[in-house]
Amino acid sequence: MKEFDVIVVGGGITGAATARDCAMRGLSTLLIERSDICDGASGRNHGLLHSGARYAVTDKEGAEECIRENRILRRIASNCVEPTGGLFITLPGDSLEYQENFVRCCRDAGIDAVPISPKEALRLEPAVNPELIGAVKVPDASVDPFRLTDANIIDAMQHGATILKFHTVTGFVRNNGRVCGVRVTKPGVIRSQEIRARMVVLAAGIWTAGLIREAGINIGMLPSKGALVIFGHRVAGMVINRCRKPSNADILVPGDVVSVLGTTSDKVPFEGIDDMRATPEEVDLLLREGVSLVPALSHTRIIRAYAGVRPLVMADSDGDGRSVSRGIVVLDHEQRDGVPGLITITGGKLTTCRLMAEMVTDAVCAKLGVKAVCETALRPLPGSGKAHKDDEEVPYFKRAAIGRHGTEVSRMDFDLGHEIICECEQVTRAEIKYAVKTLGVRNISDLRRHTRIGMGTCQGSFCIKKVAAVLAEELGEPLREKEFIDEYLQERWKGITPVFWGDSLREAEYMQRTHKDEI
């Protein structure tokens, strides 16, 4: 393989945005991901596009970054962002003085925070706890992390980047101490392969901590687990936050057609980071707190629970790991550790992914002596923009696809693919074909991330055999249908088991009986 200008390790949102920025600045770029795009923490979060209000009181700089990036993403990724607006509600027992200070801090950070009366809050969002004593309207929004990552990946490819999925970086190629590439393996092949590049960027979230040790470097990182619960439909149309010091389960986000409640924050050992599961205790905790935000959550069906890992980075000066930063961290390992050719980007948030990419790409360009400036905030991502004329009647089978992929639907062939395969999420054959062709998938779990297949109420119980048949056909591997179903159902169980009650339990039984050969 040729030598690249830059290798980005990690196919989450940070890596994807970095690959896009590098490629747009004319660098020959390779992104390596050990699994599928968005399979780590990027696919296991709230899907909240912060206005910055949550950080306004404690972290003004972070809040300012958020509101800037919030405005940019609305502009460049209109198909990924839904401008739902957000409310910070104050409940009896919370302090209205905190709310006053909160509004002041928001305004200092440039966030348009408008205090409204409890009555007005209930009119805007009838689902909020009617006992509220105060409310503030903020420009929070809902963002689909899968779509946002895919859009960055597609744009990177359109600017010439190469994407290597399902390849694991096992070490670095060194020359006189300089990192000049990586060693990668792929499943089923014992020998590793060397790929060379002038710069290597680590954007692997919490997995960076393990990788970087291969270069003889140590970064103080702590895995912090965040558990979340998905409810079956939209209980509230706006993002609902609790107006108090950030705590457990105080945000409810309307994500696509579901509601996501979270999150917890617990330090966990490194051993568990590859297999994060929400526990029934965490679900209990989330429910208990969530009900005070939106009372209907006490009886709304839960589809599943899941957990992601935030990479908390310890400040270098801090020995015992008490002060962690959630801000953006760019580590130039030449300067910091005397290892040229290697840069780490970590910290930050989903909302600030573009800014993180800009910062690390600036660092890469400086090392390579490239003068190109960042244009990622100016150019819309693939899919962004109007997918149809205002007066055009859009056929029903196309609407869900437009909602997810925006203008990218022009690349889908609905003439032969308008049949709906996944009924809960209204995924058509055309959308499946598009995902297979554009983003590359191994199995149904991969397909799910790029289309929402099986993410709905039945979790695939009803349509998974159809999906498996269509996928096998599209991949040209007709014998793998059963394997696809096995893998998918096992993965789904992981999120269903912590919420084994009510209708989820009935659904699980139905699933088990329908697929008794597979489970």
């Binding site: 579901v258 006490s298 009886h299 709304t300 069906r301 029903y396 809960c424 109420t457 209708d503 139905y510």
Partner: protein, 407 residues
């Protein structure tokens, strides 16, 4: 952990088993209709996100509620669809005219001979087909020159010490007062006097299926207020139409959010009331022995949803000369105003096809191939129009049959 899962229309109870899809009469004949599961709980999740996901193919729902009868999880599939149509769909002048049975009826009634004549003329039918979208195969039920209510006000009901109230409905009032008279005869024979409600408006079913929810709600409030007064006076409220009954019992609370819990147990079809009175021994009626009728009983969709057909069947069996066949429960396809719209005519007839075949088979089973005494019996007036138009077999409400059988 949660104690139970409840959402509007029991949306989240849906396990996606698709039993509803299996029983939907429209699914079987129309590829454009997404089916009850997709139109109902599946579609609702998307509509909750954004009304732009409203699918205009929901207009094909017949509101027959067979999906709800079939659902093993208690999802109010039909109610979810009906409520979505009220919220998101628009309507035109034709729909307005078809839906306002009350207003149109009271305008047409005084000029009944003229209106009936004109509406039956071929050129008028063609014009309505072309410009209003009312299918030319259909004939409007003829209007009666004298309303039921004006007849009723002249009846002396003073000789009774027990009373019921009668919700007559638009069809009895404007089109077929005889059915109301039959009810009065039966109830009087049972020893009860009949009162009209203080105020009665159309139940609103046609308004609802044509997306005029606000008006339906206003009319529902008026009806419920009158019924509460009747109930306070110790009267049950009797009806003759399965659709009006079902609408006021189930759609009022589920679709129009009208609280009717205290009215519901007192609001019923005559057959349920009469059967219970006879079973308890309070009422005994004597039927003629010389009435030789061969009856094929058709369970209308809303009768199936009410679950009351056995009351009717048992009463009919008490008439000595009656031979009765219960037909398989199929939709006739007209679904109220649905079948009157020209774009729906073909679907309407395709759905009804299976029932029409059943009627033919019932006729053979009763040995009534050339017998003028063969009738179809059903509680629904729009089923009556559809069956009479499509098969030529006369259709009678069980109330009329029972009244005819009185000694």
């Amino acid at each position: 952990m949660q104690e139970n899962n409840i959402s509007a229309g029991n949306l989240e109870q849906c396990l996606k088993c698709n039993l509803c899809t299996l029983v939907c009469p429209m699914m079987a004949v129309n590829a454009h209709y997404p089916g009850p599961k997709k139109a109902g709980p599946d579609g609702e999740r998307y509509r909750l996100k954004d009304p732009q996901y409203y699918d205009y193919a929901l207009k094909y729902c017949l509101n027959c509620k067979r999906c709800e009868v079939a659902c093993p999880s208690g999802v109010m599939v039909g109610d979810i669809i009906q409520a979505a149509r009220l919220r998101y769909a628009g309507h035109n002048l034709r729909d307005w005219a078809l839906a306002n049975t009350d207003l149109v009826g009271s305008l047409a009634s005084p000029f009944a001979p003229v209106v009936n004549g004109v509406l039956g003329l071929k050129p008028v039918k063609s014009l309505m087909h072309a410009f209003m979208g009312v299918d030319s195969h259909r004939t409007f039920p003829s209007y009666s020159a004298r309303r039921f209510t004006s007849w009723m006000r002249r009846q002396d009901q003073g000789g009774f010490d027990k009373f019921v109230s009668f919700f007559h409905g638009c069809y009895v009032n404007y089109n077929y007062p005889q059915l109301g008279k039959d009810l009065v005869r039966l109830v009087n024979a049972a020893g009860y006097g009949v009162h009209l409600l203080e105020k009665e408006k159309c139940c609103g079913v046609a308004l609802m299926s044509n997306s005029m929810g606000a008006q339906a709600r206003r009319q529902g409030e008026i009806n419920l207020a009158s019924m509460r007064k009747a109930i306070a006076a110790g009267e049950d409220i009797l009806t003759v139409s399965s659709t009006c009954t079902f609408t006021m019992r189930d759609e009022y609370p589920h679709v129009l959010a009208l609280e009717n819990a205290e009215v519901r147990p007192h609001l019923m079809l005559l057959s349920k009331w009469l059967y219970q009175k006879m079973e308890s021994g309070e009422v005994s009626l004597r039927f003629r022995r010389d009435l030789h009728l061969k009856i094929a009983y058709h369970t209308s969709c809303h009768m199936q949803k009410l679950g009351w057909r056995n009351f009717t069947l048992e009463l009919l069996r008490k008439i000595p000369g009656v031979e009765l066949v219960e037909m398989d429960q199929q939709c006739c396809g007209i679904a109220g105003t649905f079948g009157f719209k020209k774009e729906n005519y073909a679907y309407s007839q395709a759905i009804g096809g299976r029932l029409f075949d059943e009627i033919g088979a019932a006729r053979v089973a009763l040995g009534a191939q050339s017998d003028p005494g063969f009738v179809v019996c059903t509680e629904c007036e729009t089923c009556k129009w559809q069956i009479e138009m499509s098969t030529g077999v006369p259709v009678m409400n069980p109330v009329s049959i029972l009244a005819m059988a009185l000694e």
